[in-house]
Every structure is written in C-alpha cells, then in structure tokens.
Symmetry: C2
Subunit: 96 residues, 2 copies
C-alpha cells in the first residue's frame, strides 16, 4: 500500500521540537520524506499498524496532528509534484 503521512507537531517548546524529530525518524523507517512534514510510505497492513503505533507513542495527541492517506497499491501513479525537491536530512533541525 502507498500511504502518505502528514503531520503538524507543535514546535513552540523544546519537547515539541524533539517530538517533531522523533516522528520524522519513525516515518523514515517506513518511507521517504517528500516535504518537511510529509512522508510517502510503501507498507503492508502489518507495517502500517506498526508505524501508526510508533507514531502514536511519540506525539502529544492534544497538540499534534497526524493524517494517514491510504492511496492503495497504485497510489504512486496519482501523485503530482510541482516545484523544488528539497534534499531533506531527517536528523537536521526541521524548522523551516
């Protein structure tokens, strides 16, 4: 399955910035970062559940937001990109 993960993590506190990095690190284990807070993952149903559980264990559900877009097996064909392709390093500070 091609699953797009988007997230907003409140980075006003040092703890929030740490959560942001940890969410990115989890996503990196399952897919490719395409924008600051957007990952594209090719996962099976077990991996998807694992990723969701790991992300849930990292975020603060009161302040942070994560969305999963399951685009099915052919999802990659229905993605269009316009503009820059930032070469992002998940270990660098993610503040844009």
């Amino acid at each position: 399955m091609f699953v797009v993960v988007t997230y907003d993590v409140n980075t006003e506190s040092p703890e929030g910035r740490r959560r942001l990095r940890r969410v990115a690190r989890v996503c990196k284990n399952y897919g490719t970062r395409v924008q600051n807070s957007v990952f594209e993952c090719v996962v099976d149903s077990v991996q998807l559940l694992q990723m969701k559980a790991e992300i849930l264990s990292v975020i603060d559900v009161v302040t942070d937001s994560v969305r999963y877009y399951n685009m099915g097996n052919e999802g990659r064909r229905r993605v269009e990109h316009v503009g820059a392709k930032p070469a992002l390093n998940v270990d660098e500070p993610l503040i844009f």
Copy 2:
C-alpha cells in the same frame, strides 16, 4: 475527486511568507485546511486544473514545493486522523 494538496514554501524571506499565505488562500477556495500546509479538496477536473494554475502562479518553483494526491472519488473514506484538529485561520500568520 478528492485531492490532497501539500506544500512547503520557503518562509525565510518576507516574500516567502507572502507566498505561503497566498498559496493557502488559493487552496481555501477549493477545499478545507486540515493541517498547516495540507488542504483536502473535493474538485472536478476543471477545478483541479484551475487550482493548479493559480498555485503555480503564486509559488517560486525554485524554492517551493507542492504535491497533489488524487485519491479519486472515494478518497475521503481512506483518510485517518490522529491527534489535535487545529482550528486554523488562513489569514493568520502561518508560521508554526
């Protein structure tokens, strides 16, 4: 069609921050903001082309990045949300 629009706009300059607001304003005409740089739009093919053209006219393709995820007519059913649902006002400064 249910189309997810995600974007990264370089906000290091005042001009970039203006582009960020203008992209959000375009997206708001076609859909709902669900995260800072993520909109969900229900559009027909003509509206999709119009939105893309308007966004293209606003962004700097060298520094900014926009992705369109066309999830088809049933896409909304394949979206999962976890965590906070920020009530975002597109006219407020978008720096998170």
